[in-house]
């Protein structure tokens, strides 16, 4: 589905991401982990077109999408959430999702029906008429997911949607993603610090540190890698 090939991104003197390559196979759930400042969100920004990489390519289903605008990447089938949630504050929760849904239909009425279903799925149905700006943080994160889902993606990029959730909320969201993956065949690439979610969801984990890919493999392999333990998880995680 997605192939990131030797992507390098600088911010002036700083190399945020250096020669990073990994693949996300169709139908899989892959996690991108690493300490703060490792270049995870930058990788997302390169994939979804907010940033253009200095070197390397991003391919979606064999098509080069490097350097396309975010809206073009969205039309190619990539939905994303933002680490710092960006609710359309003045619009209702339902209308936020309707905006996403208008990617696949021009009819507002159709988009509203689809949006209501997605709100059900993410447990936001009772908030549908609330202004998005007044949602709590966990609700905002779920709204991010709902809106991205409404655009009908084949690949969903999730940027720390579990942060700040209680364990039972995390489990509920994990279950939602599992169902989406299993029932709709949705491919997911997620950035996550909550290891509980990473271990439960992903089949494959990619670890970044200082912009460099230091490890990749199954969750079990990765958490046993001494380098990963040292820079990110800490000894006690073993």
């Amino acid at each position: 589905m997605l192939r990131v090939d030797s992507v390098t991104k600088y911010f002036r003197g700083l190399t945020a991401v250096r020669q990073v390559s990994f693949e996300v196979p169709t139908g899989s759930i892959v996690a991108l982990i690493g300490p703060n400042g490792a270049g995870k969100t930058t990788t997302f920004n390169v994939i979804n077109g907010i940033m253009r990489p200095e070197e390397g390519r991003v391919e979606l289903d064999g098509h080069d999408i490097t350097g396309l605008r975010p809206d073009q990447v969205c039309h190619a089938g990539v939905g994303r959430t933002f680490q710092i949630a960006k609710p359309l504050a003045g619009l209702s929760v339902l209308d936020n999702v309707v905006v996403g849904g208008l990617r696949i239909t021009n009819k507002v009425a159709e988009a509203r029906i689809a949006a209501a279903e997605i709100l059900d799925l993410l447990d936001l149905a009772d908030k549908r008429d609330t202004a998005a700006g007044s949602l709590t943080l966990p609700e905002r994160k779920r709204l991010e997911v709902a809106r991205a889902l409404a655009t009908g993606p084949k690949l969903l990029l999730l940027d720390e949607v579990m942060a700040g959730l209680r364990p039972n909320e995390t489990d509920a969201l994990v279950e939602t993603f599992r169902q989406l993956n299993r029932n709709l065949g949705l491919t997911i690439l997620l950035i996550e610090h909550v290891m509980r979610a990473v271990m439960a969801l992903s089949e494959h984990v990619v670890v970044l540190n200082h912009g460099v890919l230091i490890s990749s493999g199954t969750p079990e392999e990765v958490v046993r890698n001494p380098e990963v333990l040292e820079c990110y998880l800490g000894e006690e995680a073993v």
Binding site: R69, D71, G79, F82, L88, L91, L102, R103, N106, V108
Partner: protein, 333 residues
């Protein structure tokens, strides 16, 4: 189509709307010359306010140079009328194209180079200002000494050439205002409206949701400019004289947006409520000022009133009024 227009308006709102429409339709029968001229002003500002609201209220793009589009519309249709006896309605269409193109140029420059917010607003001022200077030296339309339409005193009205009594102008402006309201409502409930609002709220989020931000912002500017220019044509044929110093002035641009801000930015009825409120207030202040012999007392009072309104109703008068009238929390009822 017509039924859909009123689909989610509460019954109370429909009644109020019908009463308001009837009152406005019958007003010329009871209003004297003075009152009629005030009502024309109210409608004029309702209309240009709505046009400006399309760009700022819906799509979130601040323009402080909308006098540019009024001026272009006015000069285009007036010059075509004076030089070629072109029917004003044709002139209006040409004016809309000219203003729409000017809007597209400003938008194209601003949006292409990522100029946002107040910086974009400065760009709109700059264009209005140098167009004003340009027209000062544009001999074909009279330069700084102005362009005048032949005035005929007549009691019959010729709608085709827009020559006639104030009553005709009143109904023309009423039709414009009603048309703009319907257009705004239809667009706001459509995909375009949703996309504009998404861009207004958060441009990055909008783009990640598949919205071609550049294209939709361009559409907002061009449509807003074209609508605004219709008011320019009206202005030219109603007042019969045009001076670059007046029509392209910063003051005119501010006048256009004040009513919207007071009435309720981004709402459908805000521009109308704001226009009626400010115009009436302005007239009352003029009356008061006549009794107090102090220079600038009118502006002072008007400024104070604005301050009070914006302090106590920062979201505008209409959202609050709508709730008081029992039209629910929805601001587009």
């Amino acid at each position: 189509m017509i039924a859909g227009l009123f689909a989610d308006v509460p019954a109370r709102g429909l009644v109020l709307l019908a009463v308001l429409a009837a009152a406005l339709l019958l007003a010329p029968a009871v209003a004297g010359d003075y009152l009629l001229s005030i009502l024309i002003l109210c409608l004029y500002f309702s209309f240009v306010g709505q046009a400006w609201n399309v760009m700022m209220g819906f799509a979130g793009q601040l323009s402080l140079g909308h006098s540019l589009y009024v001026g272009l519309g006015a000069y285009t249709s007036a010059a075509l009328f004076v030089h070629y006896q072109t029917v004003p309605w044709i002139g209006m269409l040409v004016g809309m194209a000219v203003a729409g193109a000017a809007g597209a140029v400003i938008g194209g420059l601003g949006f292409r180079f990522g100029i946002r917010g107040v910086y974009f607003a400065l760009l709109t001022i700059a264009f209005a200002e140098f167009t004003r200077v340009g027209f000062d030296h544009f001999g074909w339309v009279g330069g700084s000494s102005g362009l005048f339409l032949p005035v005929e005193y007549r009691h019959d009205s010729d709608l085709l050439t827009l020559r006639g009594a104030p009553v005709m102008f009143y109904y023309v402006m009423l039709a414009f205002t009603a048309g703009a309201l319907v257009l705004a409502r239809v667009i706001l409930a459509s995909k375009i409206g949703y996309y504009w609002q998404a861009i207004r709220e958060d441009q990055e989020a909008a783009q990640a949701l598949g919205i071609n931000v550049f294209r939709y912002k361009m559409l907002a500017v061009a449509l807003s400019a074209a609508l605004t220019s219709m008011a320019g044509t009206f202005y030219a044929f109603y007042y019969n004289n045009l001076y670059p110093e007046t029509i392209f002035s910063m003051h005119k641009s501010i006048e256009i947006l004040l009513g919207v801000v007071v009435g309720g930015l981004g709402t459908l009825f805000g521009p109308i409520v704001g226009a009626f409120l400010l115009t009436t207030l302005g007239e009352v202040m003029t009356g008061v000022a006549e009794h107090i012999d102090l220079d600038g007392i009118k502006q002072l009072f008007l400024g104070l009133c604005l301050l009070v309104i914006i302090l106590f109703r920062p979201a505008g008068v209409w959202p609050w009024l709508a709730r008081r009238l029992g039209l629910g929390g929805r601001d587009d009822a």
